[in-house]
Amino acid sequence: MALQSLDIVRRSATTTPSPSVRRMPEVAKLIDVSTCIGCKACQAACMEWNDVRDDVGTTGGVYDNPPDLTAASWTVMRFSERRGGGGLEWLIRKDGCMHCQEPGCLKACPAPGAIVQYANGIVDFHEENCIGCGYCITGCPFDIPRLSEKDGKVYKCTLCSDRVAVGLEPACIKACPTGALQFGTKEQMREYAAERISDLKARGFAKAGLYDPAGVGGTHVMYVLHYADQPGLYNGLAADPRIDPMVSLWKGVTKPIALAAMGAGILGCVLHYVTKGPNDVPDEAGREEGRK
């Protein structure tokens, strides 16, 4: 992490600036759903590069396997069958961390330095600082982080921050056989996406577009969708993701205010005592009772 220690723009549960003198361009992974064949090479590459292995599960009547993200499966393919105007469609979406520009996980995290965001936009978990409270799960608008039952730490896609730091593309990008996964600066990816979208529009997908939701300040994992107006078709991709108001309230200005209120309360008590003195029994009453 040495290379990255100078470009931390956000750090969980930290109120002072982190080392951030090093600047770098924002990066992005682009997932072109229209050229993805759901081969799961990205899943395999993810397991291999990160050296994590999920359990051999069961088949539940769908191709999705493992059926959900886990602490060892940081990306999974989501398959959705749909009968549309042009006949049957099998929409396949690679799911995983979106690397939000305004990460809800980081906002929710109470452990200093357990979640950081680098200048290139990658949101990374530093599990050695993680206390396993799972607040990040609560904070995430995409339901991505998963708590490991083995070590009580939370895991998710790192966008291969270790590879990116040394100038490589993430492992999933490297493995993708069709080029449905692309990686580069966010600017390059937007340009590439524009080409793909114009191709899709020429093929009759009038609503094709880029998924880079503004509600979380944009993401560093973006989708090219045939139906950008209905992200929910892609196995419930959030239409307008944002940090939930509950989370903002929970983790926002209310915290210092509440803390100040508590402090003020204690201070008030002290002042009251000093100025008013104790609520003691009046002398006459005491004496009278004492005689009995």
Binding site: T14, I131, G132, T138, L147, T254, G265, Y273, G290
Partner: protein, 207 residues
Amino acid sequence: MTGNPNDLQRFTAWERGNHWLVAICFILLALSGLALFHPALWPLTQLFGGGVWLRILHPFVGILIAVLFVSMFARFRTLNLMSGSDWEWLKHVPEMVGSGGPMPPQGKFNGGQKLLFWALGICLLLLLLSGLVMWRAYFHPPAALARIASLTHAASGAVMIGLIIVHIYAAIWTPGALRAMLYGTVSRAWAKHHHELWFNQMTGSRP
């Protein structure tokens, strides 16, 4: 002072023990909760052996306080039912805080104590329920519920801490109160002054 045979028994040993167990739990919970509440208080995690131990211990202590409080609740519930005189007393609180009295006569517990009792009960209930939802080691709530629970837990925790500050200050501000909870007894004068109806009841005096 403690040995005065005329003193009145205000709390039994069981009651006092229960109270102080709840109090210890509360302090542990409050400190550990505050450690996660704001980064400025993160160093409090060191009291619990670090953040991970804190995360592990906090919910179990929470369960413990709930159980202990249930016992206390059963013991004190009827004593804390609000009556007309309690509301009357509450109306005079500003005067009491400002000039120290005089207050309408009260039973074993005054209106403020009773209100506190119920407020703490509600807070604890909310904390328990929301805390269970947040306990990710054992529960996997839907996101919306987890978010409501998290906010509820933080808010009711903050309120409860505020209430306890009032509670503790009231005990400090009122000499003899702490002694009641430590040794169980109060002087007759103290009883007559602060809880006259209870004093009458205990001594058979008529007003």
